[in-house]
């Protein structure tokens, strides 16, 4: 119930932000709309005033918000500023397309997830494996582009753009469904081994219950606590849909929202964001209902928890090797000149002079890769630091934290990116802000758990008993115990945050040309993939390496320790 309230509050907060966009942006939308409607008309004060009056912008920010909310209650989403048509039909049309796409993607995801979990269920041990882990971390836009280039353009098996029949559905559904499926499969497969070691399994087997029945019971045991996470995966699909629809030119809700943000068509943006979030909330509610149905009314929320999952143990050598490869490539590229244009050498193949070839303007790809990484890593570090500070500040206020985290969790980074870009205009800062706004909840919940653990410990009782004040306890004991582990956690999330930034860059919501940001680099080079495949391959491989690094870091033992190792035996023997 509290989660539902928090989600509703989140929806209101995000929609208010969306409704206040013209006021938040501090810029005059009249000028950009005039440009969008008729390029040749002079932006005279009279023309701009006419546009403003036409849009009703004179009503002021709160007036606009009130008008929009009032229209919403009557089922009227307003009129598009750019095309002048009703928003509602565009939204419903886009929603229909996006729902079919997400449905197909969900089917793919279930197939992938089941095939990853099945071997673990049969063998009774093991994990979903490293391939699944990497697939789960690969951003949708990268997979979409890869499928487009290989299966669409290269092999010509499936159409690469548009929306005209089931064959158009195959590649987008794969691009959207495979990462989600890998994530689902991993969640189940990681939880299964410890469930299969529970005593009831042995008892059932000893009593002669068949393998199939035990397996079915184990699945039923695993699923209920994971259902909320499945809901998160589906909410994540709405973010992925923006990228996938853009790559495959599908007229869905995500692509409409992105276009609306870029052209400052705020009524359309508000309508599409409302639909995306509404879908996310509906999914959350359905998941909660399914969970109640599976558990029965008698079981309270914490009544049926899973034994601790044992995720893939990756030897530290793997992230070290991945990191070393990236550092070498980046370091090499940093020594070269990224902005030198040489039109004579456009789209040249790799050579001694240009080890990874050149791009459409004859710029060195290796140099751009190196310099792009430097700025991406710098931005990601800043985002991490911001998230870390938010987490530390909020982690000590568990109630506020859980409410705000529910809001942040319901908004995929791409949707946050669209909203922030609409308010401030696209740019590195906007992308960083968007990712920071939604990336802190895991850190905050970690900080909250640690702070709770420290506060409950005996040595803090002793502190109070000796007369220490709250500030002394916080500064000398709680903060030092929380700050270091959460900092390690924040560093581990760095590659994932860099990937989110690259996604926004790829969609044109982040760094702008001529910046060599990786997502942008991939977007630019994808147009010339047939003539210069290496130029597109290089950022793709770099992003895939980053994804692998993100996964292998999260699997290394460092994360397991939340507090310094301490003997927990109640009976000391030495």
């Amino acid at each position: 119930m509290r989660a539902t309230l928090a989600r509703a509050a989140g929806l209101v907060a995000v929609l208010t932000a969306a409704g206040l966009l013209p006021w938040l942006s501090g810029k005059d939308p009249a000028l950009s709309l005039l440009r969008a409607r008729s390029a040749e008309q002079e932006p005279t004060p009279e023309a701009l005033a006419a546009v403003r009056a036409d849009l009703g912008l004179d009503a002021g920010p709160l007036g606009l918000l009130g008008q929009w909310a009032g229209g919403l209650l009557r089922g009227d989403l307003g009129i598009s500023w750019v095309s002048g048509t009703d928003v509602l039909p565009s939204v419903t049309a886009g929603l229909r397309v996006s729902l079919s796409l997400m449905g197909a993607a969900l089917a793919v995801a279930l197939l992938v997830g089941a095939s990853l979990a099945a071997p673990v269920l049969v063998r009774g041990r093991g994990t979903a494996g490293t391939v699944a882990a990497v697939l789960a971390a690969v951003p949708e836009f990268l997979l979409a582009l890869g499928l487009l280039i290989v299966a669409g353009v290269g092999l010509g098996w499936f159409p690469t753009s548009g929306w005209a029949g089931p064959r158009h559905l195959v590649l987008p559904a794969l691009a959207l469904g495979v990462p989600a499926g890998a994530l689902l499969g991993r969640l189940v497969a990681d939880a299964l081994p410890s469930v299969l070691e529970e005593r009831w399994v042995e008892l059932w087997r000893g009593a002669g219950v068949g393998r199939v029945q035990v397996a079915a019971a184990a699945v039923r045991r695993v699923l209920p606590p994971l259902v909320p996470q499945f809901g998160m995966v589906v909410v994540g699909l709405t973010g992925g849909a923006v990228a996938v629809e853009t790559v495959f030119a599908i007229p869905g809700l995500g692509r409409t929202a992105l276009g609306a943000a870029k052209s400052q068509d705020l009524p359309l943006l508000q309508g599409t964001v409302l639909a995306l979030l509404g879908f996310g909330l509906l999914v959350g509610a359905v998941c909660a209902a399914v969970r109640r149905r599976l558990l029965g009314p008698a079981l309270r929320d914490a009544g049926l928890t899973l034994p601790a999952a044992r995720p893939v143990r990756v030897p530290p050598a793997v992230p070290l090797a991945l990191g070393a490869v990236l550092v070498v490539v980046i370091g090499w590229g940093l020594l070269r000149e990224p902005f030198a244009v040489d039109t004579a050498l456009r789209l040249s193949a790799p050579s001694a002079e240009h080890p990874l070839g050149t791009d459409a303007l004859g710029r060195d790809v290796l140099a751009r890769l190196g310099h792009g990484a430097a700025s991406t890593v710098g931005t990601a570090t800043a985002v991490c630091l911001l998230g870390y500070l938010i987490a530390l500040a909020i982690g000590f206020l568990p109630n506020l934290a859980s409410g705000l985290a529910d809001i942040a969790n319901a908004v995929p980074p791409v949707v946050a990116g669209i909203l922030v870009a609409a308010a401030t205009g696209p740019g590195t800062g906007a992308a960083a802000l968007a990712v920071a706004l939604v990336s802190w909840p895991p850190l905050a919940s970690h900080a909250a758990a640690l702070a709770q653990e420290v506060r409950a410990s005996g040595f803090l009782m002793a502190q109070r008993a000796m007369g220490a004040g709250p500030l002394w306890i916080l500064g000398r004991h709680v903060l030092p115990s929380v700050a270091a582990p959460v900092a390690r956690h924040a560093v581990l999330r760095l590659p994932g945050i860099a990937l989110a930034l690259a996604s926004l860059g790829f969609l044109g919501l982040g760094a702008q040309p001529p910046s060599p940001e990786w997502g942008l680099l991939l977007d630019e080079s994808a147009d010339y993939v047939e003539r210069a495949p290496v130029a597109a391959l290089a950022p793709s491989v770099a992003l895939a390496l980053l994804a692998a690094l993100a996964v292998s870091l999260s699997g290394t033992p460092a994360r397991g320790h939340t507090v310094p190792p301490r003997r927990r035996t109640t009976r000391a023997t030495v």
Partner: protein, 224 residues
């Protein structure tokens, strides 16, 4: 003569459950009062309420004639050093991150009594008083045995120069071979410093060994 600790009609509740239901007893200076009873009978809740680590629902806790339950947290801080706890879990009652010497020094710093060279000398004296080798002062808790940690915890309590120690199962987590050592240390300290003890345990033998008087609790009430 007023008793050191005078508890009257103490009531501690957790939500709807009543853990301590009208408990009264006294501890005089230099005296050991044992409090025994089965698990969950309210012994530790009584200890927490006496130390004001948990605010009692009703009743009075008078320490040296001073009513503690009425005091604000700020006023209470001036009194807290005079009654100190020793907890059951020897590792959990020390910070896992700081050296033993620093933890024993912490009460002196918190109470504004730290200076050089008197502070370090006092810590060395306390280590000696509880029978810990000065070398162990440089260690972290997980590098010590349970018995050594418990001695360090007692040294930290003594750093506040208390008049009453609330010993909440001080030896139950220790290996039986180490218990006698810690119990004898407590007897020795009482002789030297004239401390009053509220000794909480479910181990009748240990309580008889140490106590002048024994109270038995059952379901939140004192039955004998």
């Amino acid at each position: 003569m007023t008793p050191l600790l005078d508890v009257r009609d103490l009531v501690v509740r957790y939500g709807a459950a009543t853990a301590v239901d009208g408990v009264s007893f006294q501890v005089r200076a230099g005296e050991t009062v044992g409090l025994v009873g089965p698990s969950g009978c309210g012994k530790s809740s009584t200890a927490a309420a006496v130390l004001r680590l948990r605010r009692p629902h009703a009743g009075e806790v008078r320490f040296d004639g001073l009513e503690l339950t009425a005091l604000s947290e700020r006023r209470l801080r001036a009194v807290r050093p005079r009654l100190q706890p020793v907890f059951q879990d020897p590792y959990g009652s020390l910070s896992p991150r700081r050296r033993i010497r620093a933890q024993i020094a912490e009460p002196l710093r918190v109470q504004g009594r730290w200076s050089r060279p008197a502070g370090p000398e006092r810590v060395a004296e306390l280590l000696d008083m509880v029978g810990l080798d000065p070398v162990l002062g440089e260690r972290l808790p997980h590098e010590l045995s349970g018995g050594q940690c418990q001695r360090a915890g007692i040294a930290r309590a003594l750093a506040s120069a208390p008049e009453l120690l609330v010993l909440d199962e001080p030896v139950s987590a220790l290996d039986p071979s180490l218990r006698a050592g810690v119990l004898n240390l407590l007897l020795d300290l009482q002789d030297r410093l004239g401390l009053g003890y509220l000794f909480i345990s479910h181990d009748m033998a240990a309580v008889r060994h140490l106590s002048d008087r024994v109270l038995t609790m059952r379901a939140g009430k004192i039955v004998t």
